[in-house]
Symmetry: D2
Subunit: 298 residues, 4 copies
Amino acid sequence: MFEKVGVIAKTKVENIDKIIKQLVSHLKGLGVEVVLGEEAASVLNENGIERHKLAGYVDMILVLGGDGTFISAARSVNESKKDIPILGVNLGRMGFLTEVPLSEMYRVLDSVFIRNEYHIEERMMLDVKLYEGDELIIKKTVFNDAVVNKGALARIVPLRVKARISSNIYHVAVYHADGLIISTPSGSTAYNLAAGGPIIYPTMDCVVITPICPHTLSNRPLVLPVDAELTVMMDEEIDDVMATLDGQIGYRITKKHRMVVGKSKRKIKIITQRDKNYFDVLRTKLNWEERKIRSLKC
Amino acid sequence: MFEKVGVIAKTKVENIDKIIKQLVSHLKGLGVEVVLGEEAASVLNENGIERHKLAGYVDMILVLGGDGTFISAARSVNESKKDIPILGVNLGRMGFLTEVPLSEMYRVLDSVFIRNEYHIEERMMLDVKLYEGDELIIKKTVFNDAVVNKGALARIVPLRVKARISSNIYHVAVYHADGLIISTPSGSTAYNLAAGGPIIYPTMDCVVITPICPHTLSNRPLVLPVDAELTVMMDEEIDDVMATLDGQIGYRITKKHRMVVGKSKRKIKIITQRDKNYFDVLRTKLNWEERKIRSLKC
Amino acid sequence: MFEKVGVIAKTKVENIDKIIKQLVSHLKGLGVEVVLGEEAASVLNENGIERHKLAGYVDMILVLGGDGTFISAARSVNESKKDIPILGVNLGRMGFLTEVPLSEMYRVLDSVFIRNEYHIEERMMLDVKLYEGDELIIKKTVFNDAVVNKGALARIVPLRVKARISSNIYHVAVYHADGLIISTPSGSTAYNLAAGGPIIYPTMDCVVITPICPHTLSNRPLVLPVDAELTVMMDEEIDDVMATLDGQIGYRITKKHRMVVGKSKRKIKIITQRDKNYFDVLRTKLNWEERKIRSLKC
Amino acid sequence: MFEKVGVIAKTKVENIDKIIKQLVSHLKGLGVEVVLGEEAASVLNENGIERHKLAGYVDMILVLGGDGTFISAARSVNESKKDIPILGVNLGRMGFLTEVPLSEMYRVLDSVFIRNEYHIEERMMLDVKLYEGDELIIKKTVFNDAVVNKGALARIVPLRVKARISSNIYHVAVYHADGLIISTPSGSTAYNLAAGGPIIYPTMDCVVITPICPHTLSNRPLVLPVDAELTVMMDEEIDDVMATLDGQIGYRITKKHRMVVGKSKRKIKIITQRDKNYFDVLRTKLNWEERKIRSLKC
């Protein structure tokens, strides 16, 4: 049973103050202690806990926002090294990670806190290490993807990828492209999908390498086992190339850098409901339900 | 001014009898003579004119149905050699060819017949000739596309394409694929689009060759000038390969056959309204209006 | 150590008689007993063992041919219920399954039989059951893929897919398409790739569902865990629809049929060499090595 | 008959000094006056004419390099307002614009200068105007493409496109993507192709709009008539967005800017040989000749 809930909210949303106030009051009514993150607290003119420290105070996080808010909450949980689960409530309609719409929030909270009815789903993450020469300069864990891509003015980037699989090191390919996405299954419906990559069931353990606008037309997305450790390097010096982690943090890289991506030991725990399912979200978000182009004989 | 209107209707539609009855009565009220096609007449237990003869009796055709009904009406008009325009009313929401929804039919009829306000848009067609050896066995004009494709059990078909452009004959390529679509701009939003081909503005004069599931991964759709006469032949004998014209007429072909596709001298005239436009149909039919996958930061 | 080797050969190949004769003689020289399959034997005017019985007599199979020959050999091994490994020698250059080119055959045979140096790689398969109503009419194991697709004349097929994952049954989607491919990782570089599916590392355990020319343009290939049991049914009666298993066996299906696809308990064992790797085959077969479209600044 | 030839060369090429020396001597032997561009001259330690002035002195340009060198030569010719043709010699194997390989240069020169045997092919260009508010800040003519795209760190850019076709202004779409390519037929085999756009026969008159990694998965490349004047604007302020013309010149743009793209009155004239053809270049450059993934039955 969860006793202390941390609340992380996206605050640039209409009526967010009312939503948070009601939520806090409802949770207190259920006998749950509520700890607000800084942003959520500021909406109520209160003091809250910095996002990256919040996980330390609570035994579960409730995210109010979209998938982006969820990801930044997941990052905080991860950095706290505390292994607590996250419940995502979408302030819009429905997200891949925030699968509970606001209209169903109270019903779901009652399931979780009164009847103890919920399910914990685990999602894999990737550890990304950026080296400059032999020096490790950045180490981060990503939930969605690690991307190397060129700036608007740069020309095609040749990116060499190596894979270490069961202690053998293989040359995968040199991609000539606008960039490269290394995505988790959770990230497969984000940038990877826009770049032509496949949808991967989110609880699977694997990675997908998807080139962005490859100039070798026969290049295709490549799904690899999660224990494949991937190394990405520029094969030729090109200006204005960046490594971007989960779409939010960017580092300028050169031919001296290499990005090493491998399975993270940590997983993110998501609180889900039995009656929710991934395929419903998929069909809704991607508009699969309607037949858009009808048969010529219609 | 149009004085005699032929009506071609899709009849497997709820309340089609009421719709046709009201339409006939409305048109008569506007002083227009109405000639029903066979199917439309049968719904009212009357005798009508066979579809392919209808164009001979009237100076415009009104189609009630979907894009498929429109195409078969266009075929009739074409075979009649009479150069009359077609107005398409969609019994569902909106089609690429039947751009007037039922709910706006009377408003549009009043524009056309009372205020004489309408616009004639011309759409190119392709003449398709099928030869067995030197013998011409079939000659048809298509509005959407000529397709060569394999049956469910056949293996990859190697299809050799030649193009005659300004009196030179060029070897285009041998495609190894499930088949090949040669499409008009009107047909570009039909099978061509499902196979990965581009959308082509419908009043343009060109053709697009799109391979279906090509095994040479670098194959791409190819847009050619309309005066390119294309010849398609099987490069190797494969069982169970068909040539299909406008998705409706199929001919089994062998290595002895060749399909020759070129610009038709005839064009189809479509009656359109100034306030309708192609891009509106495109965005609606293809669901472009909504952003389906939101930014990670949403 | 392998003592009895069965040989299955593609026989429509130049000099196949000499190749087999030399091979037999070489293997005998190594002290190995050779049992020829029917086709291989017929080339030497001898009597051989029927392909599907061959596995019963030997403790390893050597395939001389292409990936297709390998697959049919794998099917025989599988039907024999004997768990023996297969070594694939390609009579052309290189295959995904037959990774040893003819020019390296003797070197590899010496590794395997003299120095006992080889590696066994396991590939998953899928069990496919076809039901008509409640009656199980066909049960087969596929190495590459189970495909449902329409004939050349059929219109779009609506295919409903359900997935059973950890005892829950989910509605995945209704695909409106030319057909649907359910592929193993081994099959991912075959029909799946031509239809736009991803490449999946061959020793992984998962399946990919790839629609063929989907009319819902936002449909994308979907990678699922191998323990997902998939059921495919037609959602509307369409004539001329077939289920095809490994590209070779076809069954006409109707709305009364359902195809159930799940993980096979059996795996195929492939004899590989340490110095061979999947990415080399990939780059060579898909032409990734050369940069085909150079930068504008080249 | 051409009497004065300007030579523009890519100089970072092995033995370029010998190649130019021989070329000059050969042309002089044919009675042709040769004027070297600055770079070509510098290789011989001579003084040459600045690239953008060269067209003013000669009646044809010979380009030694790749397609990129050709494009910059075309830009010079265009800026000179002199309507002289260009002959492209590729220092590598073959280009879309530089279709003569070095090994055939002398044979082709003899055709052109001795036997007067050649063909002039015209390629359309696009005039691009960039406005900040109402002020025209840049006006350029592009040979390949005008691109708007985001930098490595920017999020999805919403780009609103309007089209003026026969004096009507239409809302085309708001694309949510990494960017947008507006390409000529000549440019269709460059960035457009990498982003999933179709190949367009190079002498056609049309434009293609291709979104780069669109997040609306049903977006597709759109081919429009050349007289469509397109306006592209950001629909929301996003940092780090650039307009790039022919891959070489970049301008940072904001929500206040709009890019207007329309048919150029000028065309580029290319000197071609009867025995060369576009499809040969296509098949060679895109590796269409070989069947890369063979049938399972091979």
